[in-house]
């Protein structure tokens, strides 16, 4: 029972059904690891030990009954999982990594969480995040930086850095994250995980604390493409509480390990291989593309000509939307209130003290971009260039089935490396932002290690609602590579 923490979701579900171990044993094993490693890693903000063990015991009773009667059980019954702290779980705190929500305990479940609970999961706890998911390193959390299990002096990426570190260190088999500008893919890349950014409209955002409403998506950080598919299958689909969700039913994704990639057309966009891309990253990406070719794919060059404009477009649109979404934090209905003699001062002081530096910075950029006299030049122009970026993808996907590219310019950087210069931190996102602007899905796949032993990664991007294709390609790749099975040295044993 000593290596439970190294199991994949697919293996766990099999073991639970056959009775090789109980959900309680499994949950206990993860909680023990959290207790041991979390004080250093800071991946979890809230550990739900008591409710997790209770849910695990209930799952075990159902599993035992089902074994006797041969009845079908919910698809994820007894599976432990971690949830990023920007999604609501009724009765557990939801801080979004912010002081302003330090005391907030939501009374309802996010739809994504509710669907997982209906499928039988056991929630281990809530994971650390950059404040309101704004960041690429988890250094913007009001509750302290998360450490990368591959090198604890380095960041795990962000904003879903807590979820990434938790899965990489074996503190959870799988975790939910959110991706507004790369916040699932980039931490997955820096922590050696498979990370799925879903199509805009695939998974409901009800109960997700909003950051950029035209960009926010719920995704998965997992060890394998197969595991990501198992979680997505449960979460995906129309939700009357989120009008942007696709109304037609989401197809259940079934992956085939024997299927090659014959006939698959893969495009490599030249605009992603630019100055600043580290040689080792480029080498790993090119090797991964060659591997896809070996599996039968046809590789050709494509162009996404407006890629360089994604960064300025994103840093207008995301802050503009954030400035509107975060207006709700006013000290009236929930969250921090700084007592002041009048309403106006109560607003400004509650927000001034409750928000951290990056959140204030983005609220101000957004407010400025939307203010009288600047709206057309900034927000209006950004929305137009966003059209061009989306057209780039539409044009590319007329020629190829998916696009293969790097996710980050380099491997995990040192804690503090970019904290003095916010613009430098924003540059971490150049390769992930375009997918959010276009609304298309993306997949991070472990694709090697650099000379310092840090994970390297491949990004696959597909047309809207092509998660099944992306995951099938990821699955085929993971049948012939073993990068995704590597675990960091300090976390190999129970």
């Amino acid at each position: 029972m000593s290596e439970l923490h190294a199991l994949t979701v697919a293996q766990i579900l099999k073991g639970l059904r056959s009775g090789t171990y109980s959900s309680k044993e499994l949950t206990r094993a993860y909680l023990d690891r959290i207790e041991k490693h979390n004080p250093r890693l800071n991946a979890f903000l809230h550990i739900a030990a008591e409710s997790a063990l209770k849910a695990a015991a209930a799952a075990d009773r159902k599993l035992a009954r089902a074994r006797k009667s041969k009845a079908k059980t919910p698809p994820l019954l007894g599976l432990p999982i971690a949830i990023k702290d920007v999604l609501t779980v009724a009765g557990l705190p939801a801080t979004a990594g912010s002081r302003i929500l330090e005391s907030f305990v939501p009374t309802y479940n996010a739809t994504s969480v509710q669907r997982l609970l209906d499928a039988g999961v056991v929630i281990l706890g809530k994971t650390n995040t950059d404040e309101f998911a704004m960041g690429s390193s988890t250094e913007n959390s009001a509750y302290g930086v998360v450490r990368n299990p591959w090198d604890e002096e380095r960041v795990p990426g962000g904003s879903s850095g807590g979820s990434a570190a938790a899965v990489a260190a074996g503190l959870a088999p799988v975790a939910l994250g959110t991706d507004t500008g790369g916040s699932v893919r980039q931490p997955a890349a820096l922590c050696g995980l498979t990370g799925l950014k879903t199509t805009y409209g695939r998974v409901s955002r009800y109960g997700l604390i909003a950051f950029g409403s035209s960009l926010d998506t719920v995704g998965v950080l997992a060890r394998t493409a197969q595991d990501a598919a198992l979680i997505l299958n449960v979460m995906a689909g129309y939700d009357p509480r989120d009008a942007t969700t696709q109304e037609s039913a989401a197809p259940k994704i079934k992956l085939n390990g024997k299927q090659g990639l014959k006939g698959l057309k893969v495009g490599v966009p030249s605009e992603y291989f630019i100055q600043g891309l580290q040689a080792e990253v480029e080498k790993a990406v090119r090797a991964a593309v060659a591997q896809l070719e070996k599996l039968g794919a046809q590789v050709r060059q494509v162009s996404l000509p407006h890629t360089a404009y994604a960064l300025p477009v994103y840093y207008i649109i995301a802050p503009a939307e954030a400035s509107a979404n975060l207006a709700r934090f006013d000290g009236v209905r929930y969250g921090l209130r700084v007592p002041e003699a009048n309403l106006f001062d109560m607003f400004t002081h509650s927000r001034g003290q409750g928000f951290g530096p990056e959140v204030k910075r983005r609220i101000m950029i957004g407010t400025y971009a939307l203010s009288a006299g600047y709206y057309d030049a900034y927000y209006g122009q950004a929305q137009k260039v966003r059209t061009l970026i989306r057209r780039d993808f539409e044009e590319a996907f007329r020629q190829v089935d998916l696009v293969a590219a790097p996710i980050t310019p380099g491997s995990a950087f040192r804690i503090g490396a970019h904290t003095e210069n916010p613009l430098e931190m924003y540059l971490e996102d150049v390769f992930t932002l375009p997918a959010n602007l276009a609304g298309v899905p993306g997949l991070a796949l472990p694709a090697g290690f650099d000379s310092q032993g840090l994970p390297l990664s491949l990004q696959l991007l597909g047309p809207h609602f092509s998660e099944g294709r992306l995951l099938q390609v990821g699955h085929a790749y993971q049948q012939v590579t073993d990068w995704h099975t590597a675990t960091p040295i300090g976390f190999r044993h129970a």
Binding site: E340, L343, T367, Q383, T387, L388
Partner: protein, 98 residues
């Protein structure tokens, strides 16, 4: 064009953010840098381009306007900083205008 201190104060007022003097100066510099970078967008000719107004692929449709159950009042009030008579309580509104 770098922002002035007055610009920063005006933005902070619109955003309802109280800033310290030190924050005002830091944000003045940082926002100027970021806006400078964002200004790169102006080099594109977009006169013939429609702004992207929706990310959703399908046509959006109106739903039926049917009343449904709302969140229970005790739940709604459970996170409020101050409650009086089953309502959110706030400090006086009228004694100060910005």
């Amino acid at each position: 064009m770098p922002l002035t201190r007055q610009d920063v104060e005006h933005i902070a007022l619109l955003a309802r953010l109280h800033l310290t003097e030190e924050e005002k100066e830091r944000y003045r510099q940082q926002l100027s840098n970021i806006l400078d970078h964002i200004g790169k967008l102006q080099e594109l000719d977009t006169r013939a381009v429609q702004p992207m107004s929706s990310v959703v692929v399908q046509q959006s449709r109106l739903r039926q306007d049917e009343p449904g159950p709302a969140m229970p009042r005790p739940d709604l009030l459970s996170n409020a900083p101050e409650v009086a008579d089953e309502q959110f309580r706030v400090p006086p509104v009228l004694d100060h205008a910005p």
